[in-house]
Symmetry: D2
Subunit: 484 residues, 4 copies
């Protein structure tokens, strides 16, 4: 395998670490030779690179002393050792949202290692297995080399009303198809995998509660992205090919998210990278812990929201109406909703508890509440941003027209806003708003806000489970004078 032999120390080194791999990636019907140089893929790599650079620029925010080794590691690879550590993740996430305006793709891995840290401990305690030691050994080396972990949970699922073992095709959830002396062989596919091609390792995990009949689907394993048998199919995003139309039309030319399908076509995993194999009864708990972490990780969207609010304020300024009462009021509403997301996330992290394994895990109810607001408020913030943008956000001529010898000067004349603002500034901020509300980064800011870490109904199920209705009934009975 081509894993780096020396620790990655910067964004630049990270990008270099991705070169020359022999990944099997398809996009738009063609094999991608080198993703690092692909104009559509590169912005998603840049977003991950920003997580390396932030650790250099602001180490207090984006790194932490490893509880495994004592060495300073990137916070995305850190197993939390305190409630403050959990809160610090949120602050780092918001900051990266502000810096990239997109999904920087590393939260899944961070949340996966934190949930696996405690769940492998608990499985070992209950079943006498040795997963926790395997896992920490592996993780310590990943920390040392400062690698990127992609967490791969979501299966392709087929008929959503059926469990893995009930599907017409058993491969619709990833499963163990063979057990050998040196390891296992897995098959299946993981859908819309964030940042997987930009990762060095992929952590395969089950996606839902499993029953005894689903035992073969109860598998957790670390797999190098370069492992034999893996194919990646890059997902199309809204306006993805704008990356080839110029930096202005792209809206956000530097940064973007990434989701791909991972097909695992009989991939071999040696035992030292197998962290669950058949203990189906822990699948639900793993998913619950992972989503507890991950649903509060969506405060990153408050950071992305900061960018969009800023863009809305800019266009209002460029249009000459920043001081109009209704404009001001919309900006306040956007900020209010954005901070409401942040508040629930910070509260969830602050209310962390120590697991039996010793790391810290945030409050599950508040994390679900945070994520559930994320499934709503970015849509309203985006609507308000489009309101302030005006219709030009969807009717602007292309960058090439603005650069055209004949027509360019006329466009410059007619798309001007208030005095003192170059037309290009107006165009650039409008394209950024388009990018975030309809275009490439709308995928991450809107749709992924809906479905990432579980769709809205998944949060409602968890809220229903955790809201402790019986306690609340007790409060009501007491005040109503009802003796039970």
């Amino acid at each position: 395998m081509l894993l780096p032999s020396r620790p990655i120390r910067s964004g630049v080194e990270y990008v270099d670490s991705l070169r020359g791999r022999k990944l099997r990636i398809f996009f738009m019907g063609e094999r991608v030779a080198e993703p690092v140089d692909h104009p559509v893929i590169r912005p998603s790599i840049n977003a991950v690179a920003a997580t390396f650079d932030l650790a250099v620029d602001d180490p207090a925010l984006a790194s932490a002393p490893s509880g495994l080794t004592g060495a300073t590691v990137n916070r995305f690879l850190h197993v939390t050792t305190s409630a403050d550590d959990v809160v610090a993740q949120n602050k780092m996430q918001r900051r990266l949202g502000q810096l990239t305006g997109t999904c920087f793709q590393r939260c899944v891995g961070m949340d996966a290692i934190n949930s696996l840290y405690s769940i492998t401990f608990d499985v070992d305690a209950a079943r006498g297995t040795g997963y926790h030691g395997r896992f920490t050994t592996w993780l310590a080396e990943v920390q040392r080399l400062n690698l990127v972990i992609g967490g791969a949970m979501t299966d392709v699922k087929g008929d959503r009303s059926k469990s893995p073992s009930q599907q017409a095709d058993p491969d619709l959830f990833v499963r163990v198809v063979e057990r050998r002396g040196d390891g296992i062989v897995i098959r299946g596919a993981k859908a819309h995998q964030t940042g997987c091609i930009n990762s060095h390792w992929i952590l395969v995990m089950p996606t839902m509660r499993l029953t005894e009949a689903d035992r073969e689907w109860a598998v957790v394993a670390a797999v190098p992205v370069e492992a034999e048998g893996i194919t990646f199919v890059y997902g199309r995003q809204s306006c993805d090919t704008r990356a080839m139309d110029g930096d202005i039309d792209a809206g956000n030319a530097t940064f973007a998210g990434q989701e791909a399908l991972i097909i695992l076509d009989d991939v071999f995993v040696p035992w030292e990278h197998v962290f669950l194999d058949g203990e189906y009864e822990f699948a639900a708990e793993l998913v619950e812990r992972f989503t507890a972490y991950h649903r509060r990780s969506y405060v990153c969207k408050a950071g992305v929201g900061d960018v969009l609010i800023g863009a809305a304020a800019l266009i209002a300024d460029y249009n000459g109406v920043e001081k109009a009462a209704h404009v001001r009021d919309k900006l306040v509403e956007m900020a209010h909703l954005n901070e409401t997301i942040y508040g629930a996330g910070i509260a969830a992290s602050h209310e962390s508890h120590r697991t039996t394994a010793g790391n810290w895990e945030n409050d599950g109810l508040l994390a679900n509440v945070c994520k559930h607001n994320v499934t709503r408020f970015p849509y309203e913030i985006a609507r308000l941003a489009q309101d302030l943008a005006g219709g030009a956000v969807v009717t602007l001529p292309s960058q090439a027209d603005f650069a055209h010898e004949e027509i360019g000067p006329l466009l410059d004349k007619y798309f001007r806003g208030r005095e003192g603002v170059p037309t290009e500034w107006r165009v650039r901020v409008l394209r950024l708003i388009e990018n975030m509300t309809l275009g490439r980064n709308a995928v991450g800011y809107l749709t992924e806000s809906l479905h990432g870490a579980g769709s809205p109904q998944a949060q409602r199920v968890q809220i229903a489970r955790q809201m402790d209705l019986e306690q609340k009934k007790g409060f009501a009975r007491r005040l109503a004078g009802i003796e039970k």
Copy 2:
């Protein structure tokens, strides 16, 4: 000029009528030779063609006996002669939304002729001018030939806090730059003009209340799209180039909307096509009448909403969860919001009154209420559609990948939904949802729903003016026992 010499009798003839014109159109930095054959432009032409075909297929719905000539004319060219006529427009609009899933571009023209019919009458009565006769003469011929009229109201506006005469550049609102014996010369630009390239005539109108200082900007004129001095710059839409990536990736391969910038570079208009020239004091009333009609025309979005609700129901079906309570509940919510839009529109039309000129005009308050709901509910309907679609709506591989020899079969296997549903069906409906919530027709279903016929604040200003607060205060005083 190349206007058709014989009446257009079908969608096919309409498309033919657009061929061979010498329009000066730019898109993506290049001059467009023949828009009819341009893959990005053609779907917008198809949408207009549907308005011709509907008049053939359902004449009761989409045509009417002209009050000018007695001949049966396309309803989009008809001056209303009863409240039922006004309601019938709404029913036709919803139907066309259902048939095209996009903006079919003819409402602006329809609403413009109805408001100009009465306003020219009123100007003549007040000022002794002869606009009404000119206008009806012109319109009768347009009806006879069954042509498409684009209404051009929105100026590019520059600094939104300033009036036309206060702008640094006087051309930022269209104005009369010369008056000659045979007509006038106008200059300026109209922004995000719906369907203008697909029209035969453009009706230039002022966009806002004007004062005496703005007299030169008070101009209404009919201009052939082929008039000398006109340049069109086609607006980029989200995912516009998907049209070139195949019918599946396009989402809705047949139909799309169209907005372009119209630059009027000293265009001459003979007097017989000038319907207002300097009577600035009627500009506000014209805008109010036009927006009264046009804000209720947005019930077309209920038709587009029908498509999106249907698509959401289809994907739920294909995913095997159509009967889940929360899925059902979301479909109900979508339908509820969609019908709320329709209800206010129909009510506005039903509450029509006869103008002094004799045509019928809908209620202004309810029309503004209708449009104001349109600035909100489609966004929520789109959010719910994405909720039901699942994350695949933004992570699907391209059509070319599905068609790929090696990778295609694997994608077919892994993107399958419930039994009995071909994978391609799932993909097609997901692409349609993407098209309507993020892609090309999201431009029309969402952003244009915000800004078309005036941005949200414009409706609030009208609601404030028309809600008759003093009458309501009187009701309250009476019941509170307050003697004024």
Copy 3:
């Protein structure tokens, strides 16, 4: 029986018609001797009286020529003969909401006679019964005497998850307990019956879909309020006893709603007043027709909303802030929501169709949409009204304090608003807002808006049934290129 022998011609005569009846009414643990003189009950009688006076003051709005007799009758007793008739009901309802600020209690009866008119016709056609003739004979006499009909549909229901025949106590839904040669005997209770004590006749109807096992519960009958065996228990309303604390503290001293429990303790009904007896298979259809009418009757709340918006504007004025942008904006939002309710109602009525019996019935889907908005928007309007009112709406001293020799002048000094406004005006309008958002008329404006004509879920069930998802799926399939 004490039914009037001469037609009632005014509100005053109506009030007189209620005197001296021997009704068995309980309120606050005591038998009510004469409801007309009871300070808590009287305002509800005044509200009904307003429906008589409006017919005198504005006959075009509140009366109509009877299709049964040709005579002019109160619109509340009129069987619709056109779509315009159905729309006219809505306009009358809004007007009465504006005049009374409360529930005027006659819509149930109006909607009941219209649905029974057609359903008895259909039952006769299907079963060879003679209900329609009985019904129209009875109704013609009620029209002649100009009496008030209360519609009694809602049973007390017991365990909401069970049907009538499944209940532990069979009386939890009204049922036939005996059939005799001259008529039937019914037993049970109808809950929260609007205006029943203020009626002359009560129309008992089943409340839900019935199966064969529920045959004995399938009964429709007209019963005089004075019939032997009937007991009324007056429901407590929020702040009901304020009626005794003075006209200011009452908030709306003149008008209020009324709901009571009707206990039918083996009440005899002669055959000529029995309009359904055992034809259980028509119960669902009766309920659906009735709720179709009645759910759009809730546009009355737009009239009540007009009062509350007016009150909010008044207090803003008295506080000196009517022109503040955020105040103005809240009034606009209130009006927008209020008109949205109205729009759906008017649209439902406008889209009426002729029944087989010949009367006109509104669109069911839009009616459910109208009512569903009524379960939401009045709450938001009330919240905004309280926002504009300021905290004093819930902390004002009593009227007696303001009238107190020592303390009164100080209160007058300290509760003053802007100059030129007597303190008492501020107090009066604040009390009106309290009345409508927390007090007695909040019962009608809020909670009854939720539950009257069916709770929210009942509308959702109807919307689900009527939204025609299959047609919508067809639209989507066509545009997505899916062949079924």
Copy 4:
């Protein structure tokens, strides 16, 4: 003065401490002899008593070691010494909301002492005054005796568009009317003062930003409730007199809130209790710090919300529909909104910073966001509670009817829910829901949630000030490629 001479050690002792005071209180036009024994007032006293009992029952939650003296004091009298202290306030507040279902009235005092602690320090530093020492001396004694402090900020305000010095009557804001050698004399009135009659001390503070012209209105002073010249006029609450109709009709018979008008008719304050006098330039900062604390104190409403959610779940259970999907979904929505409030509050407290004076103050932006959600979500939670309650919540007969010999058994029969649930339980929980959504505690749960700690617009002004739009614009410019 009658201040207690020994520390209060329990709720019972607290209630005793209120007896025998010679307060001048008016309610319903009469002087109140002994508020402790007044049926309407007593429940509000019980709510305060609960704050004493909680300190006994759960000292970790409701007490803390004083930074002034080291002694353990009630947390409501504690000056925060850490961020955890600030968070602990929120947890105590939510708990008391759960225990009382109403406003327990002590947060204003707690938040006032915390903001005065730092502001007096800052004034001294800037002006060389000695307020901080006076203040801490006074506070230490209040802590020792364990007294209740009411914070009195809101003036009666007159014309809301004018500042204190611009009012027609200068007394519409509390002001210094005389300065003497031994102290000052103040005049004016404070409106809707929470728990003032249940307090021992009142802290008078200015309510808004003041200018130099308003110097005489810049006064902070501690005044015993028994001080000469003070008159209290008890505010009427919705359904206040239900307290006299029996424990069931009251809904929550034990606990209620309290708001009264405090008239300060030339009240003398000795210098040692004057903590600001004329330093108008600190008024805005005092208000901002106080509201920063107080707006996050509204997480108490999440505790009250717990009661209402529990009540809604109970009635659904009693009606036999607790497991219906739509019922479950509404409970989830209620919990989601409720926890969203809590989340923003906890986050605000967690993000506390140390003031220059040394105590800890929470984040202002998140506090405003918390409160702003409180102005919205309780209304929706209340609406949903009424939805689940069914119409009976506003139409139930009185307690006296249920107890009536004749009618009682019939009511018991007909208001029964599912088997196994006594009718009285249903009635009790319905009355509790009425109490919290329309009745006496709706005042605290709804209207006070709107206006307490500042009306919605006040939060929006603060959010506008604190949202740092320039920083956000910078994020957008960077990603859009705009050089400033």
